[in-house]
């Protein structure tokens, strides 16, 4: 047997580890700032760049892609080398991956506060950055599969399967959901419109959670948990079932984000049923993790690494039980648009991803620096503060979510809404928002303690850039026929395995999405629905830039409690020119789907200037800059051309002159209306365009509710 000596690359692991800690703190700080603004709107210091609508996506992107993303790379670069008994395929690609990923994060941190966003949740970054992400991901994939090819261990451990599913599926999701038509260097419109855009977005959004926050971390759990407990996983057989059932099922469940929306009923039911079935593999995985510690619970008491892992795996189990329950249509009718969803995702983010990342960091630093952890006591302190912080975060937000849902649906004895003013319901839960901020602060404090502990650990030890290892060279072996032959063949053939995993992942997505695009009966056309006017297009762009959909939905569900409050329920055909769709997923303010004509233009003007002047107690931030900033009309032609290219029927040449004339005429009309309300302003201000857009919302149906038969 030919024994080879080689070295594992620890430098890249350390780089990703440091980035994980730094971006984790940044992401949580931004989250805290956003949380404070929900009970103290002036915390934005009247600066548009740090206002809730813009920093909410910054927080989600920072936590998902910067904190968890770097944590994922850290864990994969460490474990893959050891599981393959090989150094990474290319050091150059490793560092390209690292610096490329950090550059994308910096680009996000700059562009999102500037309001450069596509508005699609967890995919907000504009097209040049999306291309950069694709290049970096491809580099990672080449490095990853290259390492598999040069491995010295014949069999691929289950963790590697989860990594393979991640690498492939994230690429598919990112490319499919990023299909946009550029209208400038930092502006684009989604190729898809309305219902189709919503379906693709939540197919992506759901599976971003599945294949960016879950599958790679499950792989890491299957590696680091046995390592930390120094015992093999409870049942390798269960891990096989866990993997295949999970990757096959997860992709189908996306439509559960769109229950009771204008999405066709069959797609909603499919999403619900498959979400419920997801409990089985998810809990299989959780039990497999927890049962690995059977007979080793004494270690859990002493070792902070295991403590964090136990909570992480438990949080995974809780979140994956709650998720399917929230997918049941009746439960969802109460929970959707409320803070319940926010609590749910934070159990996953803080508990599962956060705590597993912390455990990996505590595991890795002493090993990378060849020393022991500087202070186990401080790590235990972090554990308890973090756990307390998580509880203080999620419990008040669960209370807030249920309260909101019940108040929105409450009727009095006379059959009228008990709380017809939306503001009443949000004021009720503001104390919960305060408690949530305390929880977030505690969690962040714990992270600071960890950063200090890791820093002192690094100072006390000596970094080992390369770890020497030995293994026999991989020899070609013939698999003897037998009951396990196929699986052994599969575990030894990365390409074959990857193809099968890809097929499993894609089948669900195709069955779900293809009919949606091909059968027109799913989106009935409405004769009275017309494209937005040029001024409305620019107003819509401002609505997207300010992240209004972070708090306002545009989707009235077919419940009496909603139609009483907001008007006629939303129809799929109303959104055929909505590139992108702006249904939103959260209501911190009322739904705006039928906002058009509800209030005079002057009300909107005053409301944007100071929401509390028109709606006392409102938690909406002031948007006073819209009143002074000049509307950028030079970009209008490129925007209209881009929209025409993706199917919006603006006449050829419309953008060259007629569009500007129409824009001016509509703006003058709004200025005249404002004058009637004692407001004097110029027609070239941003607020004029936004008012035009808001006054248009939902009016197509109001003016002529004629539905034509499907083509």
């Amino acid at each position: 047997m030919n024994i080879e000596t080689f070295k594992y690359d620890n430098r890249i692991v350390r780089a990703f580890a440091i980035a994980t800690v730094v971006w984790g703190i940044v992401g949580m700080l931004v989250g805290l700032l956003a949380a404070v603004q929900l009970f103290f709107p002036d915390a934005n210091l009247n600066l548009q760049f740090i206002t809730f609508g813009r920093i909410r996506p910054l927080h989600t992107n920072a936590v998902i892609f910067a904190f968890v993303g770097n944590g994922m790379f850290m864990g994969i670069y460490y474990s893959l080398q050891r599981l393959c008994k090989a150094r990474m395929f290319s050091d150059w690609l490793s560092w390209f991956n690292f610096w490329g990923w950090q550059s994308v994060i910096v680009a996000a941190a700059v562009t999102l506060p500037l309001g450069l966003t596509t508005s699609k949740e967890y995919a907000e970054l504009e097209w040049p950055i999306k291309i950069a992400i694709t290049i970096v991901w491809v580099a990672f994939a080449v490095n990853f599969f290259g390492t598999l090819v040069k491995r010295r261990e014949k069999h691929m451990y289950v963790a590697i399967w989860f990594y393979i599913a991640t690498v492939i599926t994230v690429a598919v999701l990112h490319i499919t959901n990023s299909m946009t038509m550029p209208a400038g260097w930092f502006k684009s419109y989604s190729m898809y419109a309305g219902v189709q855009d919503a379906l693709v977005q939540w197919w992506y959004g759901h599976n971003a959670v599945a294949f960016f926050l879950t599958t790679p971390y499950l792989g890491l759990m299957y590696y680091f948990l046995p390592k930390a407990a120094n015992r093999p996983i409870f049942s390798y057989r269960l891990s096989i079932i866990h993997f295949w059932a999970l990757v096959f099922l997860y992709i189908w469940a996306g439509p559960h984000h769109l229950l009771y929306s204008a999405l066709p009923d069959w797609a909603q039911s499919l999403g619900m049923v498959f979400s419920l079935m997801l409990i089985a593999p998810s809990w299989g995985g959780m039990l497999n993790g927890l049962l690995t510690l059977r007979g080793a619970w004494d270690k859990v008491r002493q070792d902070p690494v295991l403590k964090f892992m136990v909570v992480a795996v438990t949080a995974y189990g809780m979140a994956t039980l709650e998720g399917p329950l929230l997918s049941i249509k009746t439960v969802n009718s109460l929970s959707h648009y409320t803070d319940w969803t926010i609590a749910h995702v934070h159990v996953g983010a803080m508990g599962w991803n956060g705590f597993l990342t912390f455990s990996m960091l505590y595991y890795l630093f002493p090993r990378l620096y060849r020393t022991t952890l500087w202070s186990t006591k401080l790590a235990n302190c972090h554990f308890w503060i973090g756990l307390l912080g998580m509880m203080f975060y999620v419990i008040p937000i669960y209370v807030a979510g249920v309260t909101e849902g019940l108040m929105w649906k409450q009727f009095n004895h006379d059959g009228f809404l008990q709380y017809p003013n939306f503001l009443e319901t949000i004021v009720q839960v503001v104390p919960m928002f305060r408690l949530r901020a305390i929880g977030g602060t505690l969690y962040l404090l714990g992270t600071f303690l960890m950063a200090y502990n890791l820093y002192r650990t690094a100072k006390a030890g000596k970094f080992e850039p390369d770890t020497e290892a030995q293994a026999a060279a991989l020899e070609k072996t013939v698999v003897a026929p037998g009951k396990s032959a196929f699986h052994r063949l599969l575990e030894g053939k990365p390409l074959f395995f990857t193809v099968l995993a890809t097929v499993a992942v894609l089948v669900g997505g195709l069955v779900e999405i293809v009919p949606m695009f091909l059968i027109q009966q799913n989106v009935p056309t409405i004769a009275s629905v017309h494209p937005y006017t040029p001024l409305e297009v620019l107003g819509r762009d401002i609505y997207i830039r300010e992240g209004c959909l972070g708090c306002h939905s545009q989707m009235i569900r077919p419940f009496r409690s909603e139609t009483e409050r907001y008007g006629e329920y939303s129809k799929a055909g109303e959104f055929v020119y909505d590139h992108p769709f702006l249904w939103g997923s959260e209501r911190k303010g009322p739904d705006l789907a039928r906002e058009g004509g509800k209030y005079p233009d002057a009300w909107h003007y005053n409301h944007m200037d100071d929401p509390r002047a028109t709606s006392p107690g409102s938690i909406m931030p002031r948007y006073s800059w819209l009143l002074t900033q000049q509307l950028e009309v030079d970009t209008l032609p490129s925007h209209l051309i881009a929209l025409r290219r993706i199917g919006v029927p603006y006449p050829a040449g419309y953008e060259n002159g007629p569009a500007q004339k129409d824009l001016q005429a509509q703006a003058q009309k709004i200025v005249a209306n404002l004058k009637l309300g004692s407001v004097n302003t110029d027609p070239d201000r941003e607020i004029i365009a936004l008012i035009a857009y808001l006054q248009r919302l939902g009016t197509d149906i109001k003016s002529a509710p004629v539905t034509t038969a499907a083509k």
Partner: protein, 70 residues
């Protein structure tokens, strides 16, 4: 050509709800297949696979923290 074929087939589907049933049957069959396959695997192979993370091939153990293998 494949696109046109799929397009025409889907256009002739009278009731789109068949997709729900089709999906369920597809997954159920797949799940049963995986279950049977996993149950049929040999115990010694599973034991070998489960032990993979514990053998990283490193030469040196951590002197200051010998209980934690690298």
């Amino acid at each position: 050509m494949i696109y046109n074929l799929v397009h025409s087939i889907l256009h002739e589907v009278e009731n789109i709800n068949v997709f729900g049933l089709f999906s369920f049957i597809l997954f159920f069959g797949f799940f049963i297949g995986v279950l049977v396959w996993a149950v049929a695997l040999k115990p010694n192979h599973l034991e070998q696979m489960g032990g993979l993370p514990l053998d990283g091939g490193e030469k040196i153990t951590n002197e200051k923290n010998p209980s934690s293998k690298l």
